[in-house]
């Protein structure tokens, strides 16, 4: 049943069915599109969605358990933030998320996530591509490969990241061995002009009237060339791709122009970098883009090795309002039910304080990476709302109750999108590859 494409087999792409033409999911699906709000750098679970009062008892003292992470950590470090029960469901959420907390009844919080290595690079690869190091396609590439995209005038997999590239750069949204059409399109949302957002999307030379005339001439010349070559659909495909590009210029221009939104919507998101980028994300989803990944920023902003209180408050403050606005907006538009929202980082942080050490940490009062346990949440798209699933140990160090590996998360998300993660494969280099490699189990309890 998998969507096989024989390595080396001719990949004919007729004009009608380009590589991104929409395809139905092989199985019944609850979610049609995905937005991954990526807190790159790794938010601390004990400061966000996993309250651990027991840490207070050990404040400044060694914990009974100690796990080895990238850098040396010391005594227990209780969260400087208060948690309160939110919504009908009473999920406890840190005070740094006042607006997201209002959506507690929509959230499906997983507190027992774990991954494999407490370093950014492999964990980013695991979260985005289901592998620690090797070259594998990104989640978004798999999805656009499997489902195509609804709007042929826009890329199917869009990556919003303000200020430049995150760690590992484009490897996070690579199509790898899948055709290049499934690669994520990175957009630096620090810019506001559309031609800086998408490469070559606007002509510096010609108005669209002039371009129309150029295309008419081009079509005329191409028709002459096609005579006697009618058996080559790829000639017509290229003709059509110019027409598509011509329309895409206008579509792209309009989708990134948030001034087209009513004032109250723009106010809800806020006129900040994160507000604007989240609003663009919603506009993309609404226009039929299959997979949107929204990064917090270039580098690894959530990597608070020092001053967790100051840094985590600031970071959450930047995106709390926009994320809440997105959830409200999706709901009001009736899109939340079939849009799968994923929030989280590539791993979590230690409940212990990181020690200052030249070369590894130049500051104080921070936390190290933690691959043993962390939290994510999902919303919409067929996940069970108002749920808290799994648990870490008493101190938030390691996933203990119902642990969920990143592969399990991927398997579950694929399930929601209408794929059996074991059968959704691509033949490459003699093997049928899967997003989940040879791992992963659908976590049924997370499904609505």
């Amino acid at each position: 049943m998998g969507l096989h494409l024989l390595e080396g087999a001719p990949t004919s792409t007729s004009a009608a069915a380009g590589p991104l033409a929409p395809k139905p999911a092989p199985l019944p699906a609850k979610a049609k599109r995905v937005i991954h709000i990526f807190m790159n750098g790794g938010p601390s679970q004990v400061d966000t969605f996993d309250p651990k009062p027991a840490l207070a008892k050990f404040a400044g003292k060694a914990l009974p358990i100690h796990l080895r992470t990238e850098r040396k950590t010391g005594a227990a470090f209780p969260s400087p933030f208060a948690f309160k029960p939110s919504g009908q469901c009473g999920t406890e959420i840190s005070e740094i998320w006042p607006n997201v907390a209002k959506h507690a009844d929509d959230l499906c919080v997983v507190r027992s996530m774990y991954t494999e290595i407490p370093n950014h690079e492999p964990s980013l690869m695991m979260m985005n591509c289901g592998t620690l190091i090797q070259t594998r396609p990104a989640f978004g590439s798999w999805i656009t490969y499997g489902l195509g995209t609804e709007n042929q005038n826009l890329p199917g997999f869009v990556v919003l990241c303000p200020g430049g590239l995150p760690v590992r750069g484009a490897q996070n949204w690579r199509s790898a061995f899948l055709p290049g059409a499934y690669q994520g399109t990175h957009i630096d949302t620090r810019f506001t002009e559309v031609d800086r957002l998408i490469e070559n999307v606007r002509s510096p030379y010609a108005t669209s009237e002039v371009q129309r005339k150029q295309l008419d001439l081009l079509n005329e010349l191409n028709r002459g060339h096609q005579r006697g070559r009618e058996d080559s659909p790829e000639l017509e495909a290229r003709v059509q791709s110019f027409e598509l590009a011509f329309r895409m210029q206008m579509e792209a221009e309009s989708v990134f122009d948030i001034r087209k939104e009513p004032q109250h919507v723009r106010d809800a998101y806020g006129d900040t970098l994160h507000g604007r980028q989240m609003l663009i994300a919603r506009r993309l989803l609404e226009k039929g883009v299959r997979f949107v990944q929204v990064w917090h920023g270039a580098g690894q902003p959530w990597d608070s090795h020092a001053e967790i209180k100051k840094n985590h408050s600031r970071l959450a403050q930047e995106c709390d309002g926009p994320i809440a606005a997105l959830l409200t907006d999706l709901k009001e538009r009736g899109m939340l039910q079939d849009t799968l929202v994923l929030w989280g980082g590539e791993f979590g942080r230690t409940p212990t304080v990181e020690l200052t050490d030249f070369g590894s940490n130049f500051g104080e009062n921070g936390r190290d990476h933690n691959s043993y346990g962390f939290s994510i949440w999902m919303a919409g798209g067929g996940v069970k709302p108002g749920l808290v699933y799994g648990a870490t140990d008493d101190f938030g160090f390691r996933a203990q109750e119902k642990p969920v590996h990143v592969h399990d998360l991927h398997a579950t998300m694929l399930h929601l999108l209408g794929f059996d993660h074991e059968k959704f494969t691509y033949r490459y280099a003699g093997r049928d590859f899967r997003l989940t490699d040879v791992h992963g189990h659908v976590v049924k309890d997370l499904l609505a």
Partner: protein, 1023 residues
């Protein structure tokens, strides 16, 4: 079959009366098997040489049968199961020395309670499908080559066609043929003149002459090297975007190898083992191995080696050996042991600290770079030395001594992997503990164990006082084994800083060194990693070739064994190498190989369309002394190659994919050929062969051939991606061309197309400024190599006429820009800027002298909106120039600043900078110096040194103010900020806000028309 299945189900114990549900099996696979595999298999599995206590826990049978103490599991009864008791440390203590997590034990307990469900054994052992040994042995690809017959290519093809009642197509016209041949052999179109000359040549040998001319072209090597670069996952930069300083030397070597028609067997051997042969001039060939994945962590070495195994086995052998990393290959007869045999070869092949010298002649830049590099390298060594000593001292602290002595005692009966796990558990260093365990076998060690067995605490006290020196005397070379995270980061950062300077040196002085590899000084024995897990070490395996293709024995004995590997690959008894290469050559000439899975000739690959022909080609390759050019020549001289790509409706119905070759395939140019074609049409293409890479992103475009474009793994360019360019991360046997609108956007809107349209329109100059048939004719000849038809002229003229009538008059020359960006010389004594060279390229929001930094002459000199980087010395200072448009009083405000990070501060990476404001009329108006901030404390945040650069002066119209920054003769870490604001007579200029790249002006109608021709299908498809 059915009956035996029923019977075995009946004979199973009661809990298995029903097959275990998928839920419980899922639980087993996720929660139970991984725990057993990780913590128990190394001693208690069929893979362990002799299972400890006779117990195997890698099968249900093994657990039920149990070991010396009886059954380990009683299904449904955890309290009666020895396994659970042992994990709870009740009866025996397992795993030795430590306890599993409560959650893990609970999971195993729950599993036993469920009845210990286990998936059917057979399916388990080898994965879902077991390679079928019979079918495997018979597979076509590993049969010996058929005996050469001397039959022609056309005879084989005709035979295949005749069987289906089909016929080949007639020979294509000469125009089409030469265009096809030029692209296939050189990746570039023929010129109009070349086509005309060929058409006019009535010599019956005309085709041979054209073939030989193009085979002899230096551009043949460029085109075919590019194909090879796809296979070799070529990248100019590796981890963290740090450049491989001499990657381009590998590319140059490939070009030369193809141009010289290096025999393919030597071509293979040199890429694997030029160092073994001590062939200095061929060391760059080893780039195939050295330019791969290079993650800087010891735990990722298996992935790095995997990358080598994958590239080598698929490129040369068409075998997907990497599939056998975790289990035997599921389809092909490649056991996991073969994978680890090759692992042994590549894990023992390392990149030396410095690239190998190929050409030791001096360059003018040696005096500038070499002492600096030496000094930096000395600082890295000194840091490692000092830290090694500190770590030794830490290990001599009595508390540390006691910890390691205790661990030494506790692990006295352990295997090495067990000792490693205990070390990890106690956060001790596994390597240091290994050194300590060597103490056990000494006289003193035995004494210590004896004492410790009597009274552990007393023995620890006593031996901490007289501990042996040896375990803690960490040799300097083993610093990597004991460093802390901070040390690792520090060394990596210093090394990367060094690499950046070194790459600058390499890019400015050419291919004087090679990214070679050498054998490890001490060879490491490779073991199978059970299920690919490096912590689960299985049997040792010798270094040798894949068993499928090798004779018995055949262990490699010379160092890493790379030379022997190469020899085995090109050994004539191995049919794969010649077949795979012959097929690739065919693929590049026809668009598809005879085998359409060019890097997978295994059972899951596609069978050849013409097996006899493939063997005949492979035989001719061997008979011609592995000459690639002769093989190419043989193929392009065939009638099969010279057919038209025209339609035969009946044939298409029968063989829609043209597997039988009833015509030539119509092909679309790949990105390299497209871009080179556009440059050739516009007359801009530079034809020099070889050299360091340029950047595709710069404006204006550097008109070098596309294969020289800089490629890096971590910044895949969307442009290249959208054109299905080879991914520099992985072996790419074939580019699968898709058609997406992003490609059309590039043709319509990119700066590159605009530039080429302008150049082309200028080249086909409109004499007298009137659109006419002659002008259109010139454009057609440049772009399409032919004259236009009457109809084409007609529609062209109509377009031009319409556009001319409706286009706005060309925009008047805008107000002369106030800012200029360049570098040059400040003569401080004379108070003058004596040389100003404008920057030519704009790339990534930066003005610079080359499309890709460094420039040979100007080095890293460059300017951004808010600042810049100076070049080497005062002759290469960066200059932001402001032109006063009128006379008056000028007020200049600004801040010159430089940031210093912790490494800059602690390791004195920068010596600071100097800034001046110099007037063309009045000389030096101001001078400022920024001295470096240096600190050595542990806790060193980023710091910035800033000076104010405010001035008030009178200027005259046309006077320049130059904002000059120089590096004080050491440009490292000299990125600065300086964005002055200027006011004059109520007008204001702001360096940051006014900063812009080259302006793109609208095209004229004539240029619009030229662009359309560049966009036509005819220009990018080949019949």
């Amino acid at each position: 079959m059915f009956l035996s299945g029923v019977l075995s189900a009946l004979l199973l114990p009661s809990v298995f009366a029903q097959a275990p549900g998928s839920e419980s099996l899922a639980f087993f696979e996720s929660k139970v098997r991984p725990v057993l595999a990780e913590h128990c298999y190394s001693c208690h599995s069929a893979k362990a040489k002799t299972p400890f206590a006779g117990l195997n826990v890698d099968s249900r049978g093994g657990l039920l049968r149990g070991g010396d103490r009886g059954p380990a599991v009683v299904p449904g009864k955890p309290d009666d199961s020895l396994l659970i008791q042992a994990l709870r440390h009740r009866v025996v203590q397992m795993p030795p020395g430590r306890k599993l997590d409560e959650a893990q034990v609970a999971a195993l307990e729950a599993w036993v309670r469920m009845g210990a469900p286990w998936p059917e054994e057979k399916a388990m052992e080898a994965g879902p499908v077991k390679a079928d040994p019979v079918a495997g042995a018979r597979h076509w690809a590993w049969q010996p080559l058929r005996v050469a017959t001397g039959r022609s290519i056309d005879a084989f093809v005709a035979e295949g066609l005749a069987r289906q009642g089909l016929k080949a197509s007639p020979e294509a016209d000469k125009r089409t043929l030469l265009r096809r041949l030029s692209y296939d052999l050189t990746g570039m179109p023929p010129t109009y003149e070349e086509i005309e000359a060929f058409v006019a040549d009535k010599d019956p040998q005309a085709w041979e002459k054209a073939v030989d001319r193009l085979l002899a072209s230096p551009h043949f090597g460029e085109r075919w090297a590019r194909y090879w670069l796809d296979l070799a996952r070529y990248s100019d930069a590796g981890f963290n975007n740090v450049r491989f300083p001499y990657a381009f030397a590998y590319r140059d070597w490939l070009i030369a190898a193809f141009n010289q028609d290096m025999p393919y067997n030597l071509f293979v051997e040199r890429q694997l083992a030029a160092d073994h042969r001590k062939e200095t001039e061929h060391l760059a060939a080893l780039g195939l191995l050295s330019l791969g994945q290079n993650p800087p962590r010891a735990t990722l070495i298996p992935d790095k080696v995997d990358d080598r195994i994958d590239v080598v086995s698929r490129t040369f052998l068409g075998l997907t050996v990497a599939c056998a990393r975790c289990h035997d290959h599921k389809y092909d007869p490649i056991p996991t042991r073969d994978y680890y045999s090759l692992y042994g070869v590549f894990v023992n092949s390392q990149e030396p600290e410095l690239p190998a010298v190929v050409d030791s002649s001096a360059t003018p830049l040696d005096g500038f770079y070499l002492p600096r590099l030496e000094q930096r390298m000395a600082a890295i060594r000194a840091y490692k030395q000092r830290r090694t000593e500190e770590i030794r001292a830490e290990l001599r602290q009595p508390e540390m001594l006691k910890k390691y002595l205790r661990a030494t005692f506790d692990t006295r009966t352990f295997t090495a992997p067990q000792a490693d796990s205990l070390a990890k558990e106690r956060t001790l260093n596994t390597y240091v503990l290994k050194r300590w365990r060597a103490f056990l076998v000494t006289e003193d060690g035995r004494q210590f164990v004896a004492e410790a067995t009597r009274d552990l605490d007393a023995a620890l006290e006593a031996w901490a006082q007289r501990a042996p020196k040896e375990p803690t005397e960490i040799p300097y070379e083993d610093f990597g084994m004991v460093l802390t995270e901070g040390d690792g980061n520090t060394v990596n950062n210093l090394r990367w800083a060094w690499d950046r300077i070194y790459a600058d040196y390499a890019f400015r002085t050419g291919a004087k060194r090679a990214m070679a590899v050498t054998d490890a000084p001490q060879l490491e024995q490779a073991h199978v990693f059970v299920r690919g897990n490096m912590n689960d070490v299985g049997d040792p395996v010798p270094r040798r070739f894949v068993s499928l293709l090798s004779k018995a024995g055949g262990e490699f004995r010379q160092g890493s064994g790379r030379l022997e590997l190469a020899q085995a690959i090109v050994d004539k008894s191995n049919p794969m190498t010649a077949r795979v290469w012959a097929n690739r050559v065919w693929q590049h000439l026809f668009g598809e190989g005879l085998v359409r899975t060019p890097s997978d000739f295994g059972i899951r690959g596609e069978a050849p369309s013409h097996p006899e022909l493939l063997d005949e080609l492979a035989q001719s390759l061997l008979a011609d002394g592995w000459s690639t050019k002769k093989l190419v020549r043989r193929i392009v001289l065939s009638k099969t190659y010279r057919q038209t790509s025209g339609e035969q409706p009946a044939a298409r119905l029968q063989d829609p994919e043209n597997r039988l070759l009833w015509r030539m395939n119509r092909r679309r140019l790949d990105f390299d050929a497209v871009r080179d074609t556009l440059l050739a049409a516009s007359g801009q293409l530079k034809r020099e062969v070889g050299g360091p890479s340029f950047s595709l992103n710069a404006v204006p475009a550097e008109p070098r051939r596309t294969l020289y474009a800089y490629a890096e793994r971590e910044r895949a360019q969307m442009l290249l991606k959208s054109f299905d360019y080879a991914d520099p991360e992985q072996h790419t046997p074939q580019r699968h061309l898709t058609t997406v609108p992003q490609q059309a956007l590039f043709f319509l809107n990119s700066a590159f197309l605009g530039e080429q349209a302008r150049h082309l329109s200028r080249r086909a100059d409109l004499r007298g400024g009137r659109y006419d048939e002659a002008g259109i004719g010139r454009l057609y000849r440049y772009v399409l190599g032919r004259v236009p038809t009457a109809r084409e002229v007609e529609v062209g003229l109509a377009f031009l006429k319409d556009r001319d009538a409706n286009s706005a008059p060309p925009e008047g020359e805008a107000q002369r820009a106030a800012w200029y960006y360049g570098y040059g010389t400040l003569d401080a004594d004379a108070g003058k800027v004596t040389r100003f060279v404008p920057f030519r390229f704009f790339n990534d929001d930066r003005w610079q002298a080359a499309s890709l930094l460094p420039d040979r002459e100007a080095g890293s000199a460059s300017l951004t909106a808010g600042g810049g980087t100076p070049g080497d010395d005062s002759k290469r200072a960066v200059i932001r120039r402001w032109l006063a448009p009128l006379a008056g009083k000028v007020e200049v405000k600004g801040k010159l600043s430089q940031g210093f990070g912790p490494y800059e501060q602690r390791f004195h990476l920068s010596n600071g900078i100097r800034g001046w404001v110099v007037s063309s009329r009045q000389g030096v108006l101001g001078k400022w110096v920024i001295d470096p901030i240096t600190k050595t404390e542990k806790f060193t945040p980023n710091e910035t040194a800033t000076v104010e650069t405010n001035l008030e002066i009178e200027v005259q119209a046309g006077e320049f103010l130059d904002f000059v920054v120089d590096s004080r003769d050491d440009y490292e870490s000299d990125e600065f900020n300086w964005a002055p604001q200027i006011s004059l007579n109520g007008q204001a200029w702001d360096a940051r806000k006014d900063f812009a790249g080259p302006r793109q002006r609208p095209l004229t109608p004539w240029q619009e028309y030229a662009q359309v021709l560049l966009l036509t299908n005819e220009a990018v498809f080949v019949d």
